[in-house]
Amino acid sequence: MSTVATTDPVLTPRQSTGVSLRGRLQDALPKIVLAPSFVITIIFVYGFIVWTAYLSFTNSKTFPSYALTGARAYQRLWRWTFESDPPSSWYTSITNMAIFGFLYIGICLALGLFLAILLDQKIRGESVLRPIFLYPMALSFIVTGVAWKWFLDPGLGLEQTLHHFGWTSFHFDWIKNKDFVIYTVVIAGVWQASGFVMAMFLAGLRGIDGEIMKAAQIDGASPFQLYRRIVIPLLRPIFLSAFIVLAHMAIKSYDLVVALTSGGPGGSAWLPSNFMYEYTFKRNEMAVGSASAIIMLMTISAIIVPYLYSELKEKAR
């Protein structure tokens, strides 16, 4: 081909302009198609983030107001946090977030990995067991919440049933108890998500090269050593992905708290998302709601930015 181009130098400029016009159009086509969604995302995600940040520095109540009043909303949030005894709603929300996030992510990872390892032992009926564990993920948080609400209600569910069977000393009222209600949210959340984490780990386990395992076994590694020294370290990327997905779900889980506990006794099951919705839309304190939303965004960024950074570093390597 190159010989053709060199032997016909007269034609080349004309041809090349024709090609380049079409070529340029072809180059631009994906951009043209992407442009509307790009613009929409820019406006409706990033534009509104900026807008929310602006509102958090105003004195907005029912409707947005645009007169800046300084960081009053933030001061209120943090004053509540540091000086509140009994705990304020914001303090409750962020401590609940810490408890819920830590337990939910931790238990989901541990349980998911455990189930995946058991399922990976070439057991019979795996194809039946897998969807059974996975399918809670198909339910919305609302359904999960309502189902567990009934199940955990001392007057309706578990406690009542066991009393019927004669175990009358059995007592389980966490869902009505201000100090324990957040743990019922963990239970329902773990039930929903651990199957999904299991599926992720199972895929990872299946992707591990059998040769390495065999080599280790020949070297005399016990199954425990095998998993601890080889398999789990190899699953590191899966851990990271699962962690990111779970962290997202933990931070945005609003509906689970509402459906399961309707906020808990005296608002004791609130997460920051509940706080944000409650203040912005129900209490007409848009500035405080916006401030809490910005703090949530910064929390998520604190997780995502290091993740992206490590991912990019991995790619560059």
């Binding site: 029912t62 009994p86 007057g155 009505k176 309707s262 608002g267 409650e278």
Partner: protein, 420 residues
Amino acid sequence: MNRFLTTTAMIALALAGASVSAQAADVKEVQMLHWWTSGGEAAALNVLKEDLSKEGFAWKDVPVAGGGGDAAMTALKAMVAAGTYPTASQMLGYTVLDYAQAGVMGDLTETAKKEGWDKSVPAALQKFSVYDGKWVAAPVNVHSVNWLWINKAVMDKIGGTQPKTFEELIALLDKAKAAGVIPLALGGQNWQEATMFDSIVLSTGGPEFYKKAFNDLDDESLKSDTMKKSFDNLATIIKYVDPNFSGRDWNLATAMVIKGDALLQVMGDWAKGEFVAAKKTPDTDFLCYRFPGTDGSVVYNSDMFGMFNVPDDRKAAQVALATATLSKSFQSAFNVVKGSVPARTDVPDTDFDACGKKGIADLKAANEGGTLFGSLAQGYGAPPAIANAYKDVVSKFVHGQIKTSDEAVKQLVQAIDDAR
């Protein structure tokens, strides 16, 4: 440069697409945003629909999923922000004033003059339906929250009589406890707890105190020993609920009284709607008393139809809606079903049951005697931010996050101050 121009054009195009406004509404149609979806309420609203269709106006519900009104208010906020106003929306208290302040409400003063609303609607209600001298909302009913609802069979069984003071109420609750009945049916949601506390404060401090503390938000009254005493009384009464009360809906608590599992409930008169729906009659199946120590005063809330500033061609439909809403026939028919009493004091009480008749008489007396107070728990005592701060504190006290009444008072003052 070229690329820059293209991008700019793209953005302009996207914005133009986004700003195409919604289609104009039909002028012979009343667009109504409300959350009255339960059987009785829907039936009651049908009366209004029929009245309007006689005058040739179609009725269009603006769909709002989810009960309780929160979802409706969020939808309304979005509609108003987008500039597509409904003809009217069900609204509560300070919300009307918020919207009026934002300048989106219509003006019904002409109709109001013609129909004589100024004279028939209690002045306390006009505070929320009239803004800046203009009628912006049509009140539909008056609920009062300082009621006791008692199961008569249980009352007879334990040999109780009407409690006249708070101490007698506690004695009555003790009797029920001794007889093995749940003395007090309560739903542990913050608005229910606060609604009960409204009655307790009125009973403990008297009408003057209630007004100063909860309507005027007077700091001295909020900090006072009377307020502490009120929290003490709340602590006393809360001991009579069953352990499983947290998070229970108000109508489930009412059902406990209807079934005789519990002796009484402290709740607004919407509870009567549940009794009526369960085919119970006042004085034979259930009793309605004013919360002890609050006779002669009425702590109210009221449903209003806020009227939006619709274009001129849709005004006729709005005026027809407002007129029909405040007509005596609708006020009577609607409130008989809803359990509340008419928002005008000149509606005959012939169709109402014993509790309704008492409610109408009480409202009239309270209106004339100056003892008609907006309920803080229901958003008629103060703007939503303050009302919610109040509900928070009461709820935290009930559920034990706030342990002493000293602390509760301190928290209440602080929370109200923050929300101001």
